[in-house]
């Protein structure tokens, strides 16, 4: 995978962004390692409207996609795991521990970040904010943290834009800055809410490169994903969700036409190599 903007990455940036991590493609994992994410009996509702009903899912290490129709509760699931949306019932374990013990150690890429683009911050400032939990409350950002942020920016091919105010970047560049911010969090578990929604080709390439490098470094990524045609290309595991779990497992086992059709409540029509989903009118 070529990095965006024609930069040739040597991988040195990755090691700088993730000091002390094994970047070999198949890192040895002790058998006892708890799963990156285990959810049991999760119920979430907005007022009277149920969003998630009795969701039980254990994510395997590696890259997982959450797939389902609009309103299936995919984003809600991520937000509940992060504690941003309160759950009525259920248990969430992150690397074997509850959120209270893991707070601040989960990577997060929100859906097309709804921030004030006029905020007085450069691209580097935004990425460096990922390091806020590591520093004291006041004073200048320590050099090591700024360098980590710079390395993360280089990872997504945005090194040349480090000093640009964020409002003066294109949409795709802004998204890559937020991707770099997620990288700079240096978390073992990264949650992404539709990272591929409405991105340009360079940004899509950057995201795919980041996903692969995170997986190679032994990190786990769970991403809400909309594009059914790329699930098998980008992810190892899949969770098919429509308010409750329809199917889960490796892409090979769980991502079948029948399961997808059951998830979307419609029929999957096949035209040779193309599959078209006939969604029933709501």
């Amino acid at each position: 995978m070529n990095p965006p903007d024609g930069h040739v990455s040597s991988g040195a940036g990755l090691r700088a962004a993730f000091p002390g991590t094994d970047t070999s493609p198949h890192p040895a994992r002790p058998r006892e390692t708890p799963p990156p994410l285990a959810i049991r009996g999760l119920f979430v509702s907005y007022g009277d409207r149920p969003a998630l009903e009795d969701v039980t899912w254990t994510a395997a290490p590696g890259l997982s996609a959450i797939v389902g129709p609009n309103g299936a509760g995919k984003s809600t699931l991520l937000r509940a795991v992060l504690g941003l949306t309160p759950a009525q019932r259920g248990e969430v374990l992150i690397q074997g521990a509850p959120l209270s013990a893991r707070r601040g150690r989960i990577g997060w890429l929100p859906q097309r970040a709804a921030v004030d683009w006029d905020f007085p911050a450069s691209a580097l400032d935004v990425v460096a904010m990922a390091r806020t939990p590591r520093i004291r409350w006041f004073g200048p950002m320590p050099r090591a943290e700024r360098e980590a942020a710079r390395a993360a920016l280089a990872e997504v091919g945005m090194a040349d834009f480090a000093d640009r105010q964020i409002g003066r970047l294109s949409g795709g560049q802004q998204q890559r800055v937020f991707l770099a911010r997620t990288l700079a969090q240096d978390a073992d578990l990264v949650l992404m809410d539709e990272p591929f929604a409405a991105v340009d080709a360079a940004t899509e390439a950057a995201i795919v490169a980041v996903l692969r490098r995170l997986a190679a470094a032994g990190r786990s990524v769970i991403a809400v994903h909309h594009d059914l045609s790329t699930v098998a290309d980008y992810f190892d595991h899949v969770l098919l969700l429509n308010r409750h779990v329809i199917a889960a497992g490796t892409v090979g086992e769980a991502f079948t036409a029948e399961n997808v059709a059951a998830t979307y409540g419609g029929r999957l029509l096949r035209f040779g190599n193309t599959a078209v989903l006939a969604e029933p009118a709501a």
């Binding site: 941003l84 004030d116 905020f119 007085p120 450069s122 904010m129 939990p133 409350w137 006041f138 105010q165």
Partner: protein, 290 residues
């Protein structure tokens, strides 16, 4: 004008007050809390009146500031709580809730003031100065206290720089990072209340919000990053505070609040025309590089 010791201290106090308002205002503006500052100011009026009545009832010196400012802080906080409660019912949006609370508290304050005028001891407190501000009527000790409190607010902002910035830029991400957003917001609100209350006498409760909003708005037109904006906003606030106090000292009939706000507005106007981050400059740059 002769520069007496009193005048000098008052000028210094107003300058420090502007510095604090500019610094706290930076974060208030970036967190989208400018109107909350307005609510705090207006909601302080009934507290001032109640403080004067309380002091009169206890037979304290009626011009003593502490009971007045304590009352102002109390009802100011009450006003903010009322806004949050109204907004939480989801029958009123926050902007409407602020409008309701601001006018209701102010009306209650005006009604209480008319009652205060009938109480001889309390009537001497000169409460009308609190509405539009009258720095010339400030005593040196009061100005010094306001200045010191203002310096404390600046120190508070700097001590909480990284949490405040994180909460202002992307509150949800900050929460995911483990930041106690509620506490950070509470700290910001506390700083805003303290700045508003310490500026009541000099700038007046109606116009205090301008000193919190104008300097950072002008500073953003010169600086593209937060440290620069913070510095310029503090400086701009100090200049506006000094200029307002000086004008009020020269023309005793001119309310300080009005002079301070006009000075701040002038800064914003000039920044709109000349600031490198202003819309006009961006259009010029776009024309220069087709």
């Amino acid at each position: 004008m002769t520069l007496t010791y009193n005048t000098l201290v008052v000028l210094l106090g107003c300058g420090l007050l502007g510095l604090a308002a500019g610094t706290v205002g930076c974060f208030a503006l970036l967190r989208g809390r400018a109107l909350v500052a307005d609510a705090v100011g207006h909601a302080a009026l009934p507290g001032v009146a109640l403080g004067a009545l309380f002091a009169a009832a206890l037979g304290l010196e009626t011009r003593a500031l502490p009971p007045l400012l304590a009352g102002a802080a109390a009802t100011g906080v009450l006003g903010v709580l009322a806004v949050q409660m109204l907004a939480r019912t989801r029958r009123l949006r926050e902007d409407a809730a602020i409008a309701v609370v601001l006018s209701t508290f102010y009306a209650a304050g005006v009604a209480l003031l008319s009652f205060v005028q009938t109480v001889p001891q309390a009537a001497q407190a000169g409460l009308s100065h609190f509405i539009l501000g009258q720095a010339a009527a400030l005593r040196a000790a009061d100005a010094m206290l306001a200045g010191l409190v203002a310096l404390g607010c600046v120190a508070g902002c700097l001590a909480l720089y990284h949490p405040l910035r994180a909460a202002c830029f992307d509150p949800q991400f900050a929460q995911v990072q483990g930041l106690r957003l509620g506490l950070v917001d509470l700290a910001l609100l506390g700083l805003m209340v303290v700045v508003c209350v310490s500026g009541l006498q000099a700038v007046g409760l109606v116009l205090m919000v301008a000193l919190l909003v104008l300097p950072p708005a002008a500073a953003r037109l010169w600086a593209a990053r937060l440290p620069g904006m913070l510095l310029l906003s503090g400086l701009g606030g100090a200049v506006a505070g000094l200029a307002g106090a000086a004008a009020s000292a020269l023309w005793p009939t001119l309310p300080t609040g009005a002079a301070v706000v006009l000075a701040g507005a002038l800064l914003l106007g000039l920044s709109m025309l000349m600031g490198p981050e202003a819309p006009a400059a961006i259009v010029r740059r776009r024309r220069a590089t087709p």
